[in-house]
């Protein structure tokens, strides 16, 4: 009997269900495998591409996307989404740049940008938390408002001129020891705080609870509206931070700088295993998702013309999301 059980146990990993459970419980494993495969494909397609410089460049770009995808991860956990991140991020980089030649300098600019972002996040939070407007439409409207105000600010600040402060450029695009991107200085603390927030704090638990079952969360004494107001303020501050890093990285400041990152930020969180329906996911997967999208985007921009790049990008997002849904489906 023991021998029979042993053989059964030995072969248990052969069963598809075992694999499915593994993938469901540890999404980081298949994601990392996918990332490694992608890197191998890049190297095979263009031998000599993959080296320390390539890797540091990829990480440097992925950091911005990962911070923005952090906004989506947090809000998606509660069943929401934040579509104002790209506008808030662009606004933050731009406002900071306009303060460079002013008394107070870029430090004041960062302060103003963060304050404006916090205000936008507060309105988002009050709208979706207190008034129960759907977050999709709430943050969309807020995005339009922020974009409009950014444009107005742009016209007002034409005379004073603008420029990305040196300090931001150092953080955004600088390298330490030739290949360690400086923006990790921003990204690593953000990542640690977010992961700990989600895994170790009561606040993190409440985010999962609200997304999983809002009624059960309310009956358990969670004050959803307070949680959501804080959440959207955090999200907006993260977005503003990403905008500062991106303006330093690209050494430009414009009101549409971060717009191309909006949809990829949602895609990164989804590929990273966070459910858009709420209650399931985490930030570590999102980081790998952002890396995958960055490597993929960079690779496609080398080997394919722009139209095909978009087509392949979209197809891969659907494929990965479909594979995920298939694997994690409750069955």
């Amino acid at each position: 009997v023991t021998a029979a059980t042993n053989t059964a146990r030995d072969r248990s990993w052969l069963r598809p269900a075992a694999w499915r459970n593994l993938l469901r419980d540890y999404p980081l494993i298949p994601l990392t495998v996918l990332l490694v495969l992608l890197v191998v494909v890049v190297e095979l397609a263009r031998p000599g591409t993959v080296n320390a410089g390539w890797a540091s460049n990829a990480v440097r770009q992925a950091a911005v996307l990962a911070i923005l995808a952090g906004c989506q991860t947090l809000t998606m956990l509660t069943g929401g989404i934040d579509l104002s991140v790209s506008y808030v991020a662009s606004m933050s980089g731009f406002v900071t740049a306009t303060f460079v030649h002013q008394p107070g300098g870029w430090v004041l600019g960062v302060g103003v940008a963060l304050a404006a972002a916090a205000l936008a996040g507060l309105v988002n939070g009050i709208g979706s938390g207190v008034f129960r407007v759907h977050p999709l439409i709430m943050t969309l409207g807020m995005g339009l408002i922020v974009f409009g105000f950014s444009n107005v600010w742009q016209l007002k600040s034409v005379q004073t001129g603008s420029g990305v402060p040196t300090e931001l450029r150092t953080i955004g695009s600088g390298l330490t020891l030739d290949w360690i991107p400086n923006d990790l200085l921003v990204f690593v603390p953000v990542a640690i705080v977010l992961i700990l927030l989600l895994r170790r704090t009561g606040y993190g638990r409440m985010l999962y609870a609200i997304g999983d079952n809002p009624v059960a969360a309310r009956l358990s004494g969670v004050r959803s509206w307070q949680v959501l107001v804080v959440l959207y303020v955090i999200s907006a501050m993260l977005a503003a931070t990403a905008g500062l890093v991106q303006s330093g990285l690209s050494n430009t400041a414009s009101v549409t700088l971060v717009s191309p990152y909006l949809l990829p930020s949602v895609a990164a969180a989804v590929i990273g295993g966070t459910s858009i329906l709420g209650g399931r996911g985490g930030y570590s997967g999102t980081i790998v998702g952002a890396l995958i999208l960055t490597v993929l985007g960079g690779f496609l921009s080398i080997v394919l013309p722009e139209p095909w790049r978009q087509i392949v990008f979209g197809s891969i997002v659907v494929l990965v999301a479909a594979a995920y849904t298939r694997v994690t489906a409750e069955s």
Binding site: I137, G141, L144, G148, N151, L263, P307, T325
Partner: protein, 338 residues
Amino acid sequence: MTTTAASADRRRLVGVYSDIVRTFARNNAWTLGLLAFLAVLLVFTKYVNQNYSLTSLANSATSVLPLALAAVAQAVAVIAGGIDLSVSSQMALTSCVAATLMASNPGDATAVAIVLLVLLLGLLLGAINGALVVLTRVPDIIVTLATYFVWAGFALLVRPAPGGSAAVWLKDLVVGSLGIAVLPKAAIVLVIIVGVIWIPLSRSRFGLSLYALGSNRLAAFRSGVPINRTKVLSYMITGLMAAFAGLSLTASTGIGSPVPEPTYVLISIGAVVLGGVSLAGGIGGVFGPIVAVIVLQLIRDDMTFMRVDSNYGLVAQGFILIGVLMVGSFLQMRRSRR
């Protein structure tokens, strides 16, 4: 005796009518409120611009038509419990295909064939969206987010740069007015498209399935609604409406532009919600969203008349969107609590 009986009859009849009116008012409270808002806005517009008249309103119809059709497209998807983020790139693709084919094959008769072909293309794009949603079981918002890129990529393949041309009759169809100046052709086109396609569909068995699917998927399934087929069909209608929107873009601008206008998706979703369609699905129609598009356009026009920086128009649109929704959902919360 007879007089009292007759007056009782009349009273009963009046009661029936007032019941009908009351039910109608209750069922369409949001749209009626929106119409009242539109009326106030029109009075305000007349106040800020003395020269404003019905003719000016008619003149803006041509530029509003693509957005109104996009809102109708979005409304169908949302009513069925989905959402279509790819509407603007479907518009770009269909518009590019139409403009390119019409430039290389001039002639009125071929243009008719091209229009039909483009409409079929819209149905196909929608069918692919719907099939992906059904087959992969990935949330609609993610699938259409991905296909947004795919359609935009194909649009760039068809037309690397804006260009092409539109048949003369197609331009004539949407530009200008019919007879008296207050009846813009664009509005007639919109009424015909909605009247011929949406109204019969929504009154049919399929329309019932559509609303059932949107309001409660499980209940719809258990009542025997073919939920997968309904879902795919809903996206096909969305695709068809997006193709109409793309054609109207080509007709009003005379060219096809491969880059999807990013604000189209935002404004279409905003207009749908402002028009009384619930994002949760199953509630609303297409009339409200069309009124909402007109309201949003009028706000921007007012900003121009008041010589305000046009960017404040964007800000105002956002605030109106948010403000109206906050008030609306606040009222709804109070009603449901009672």
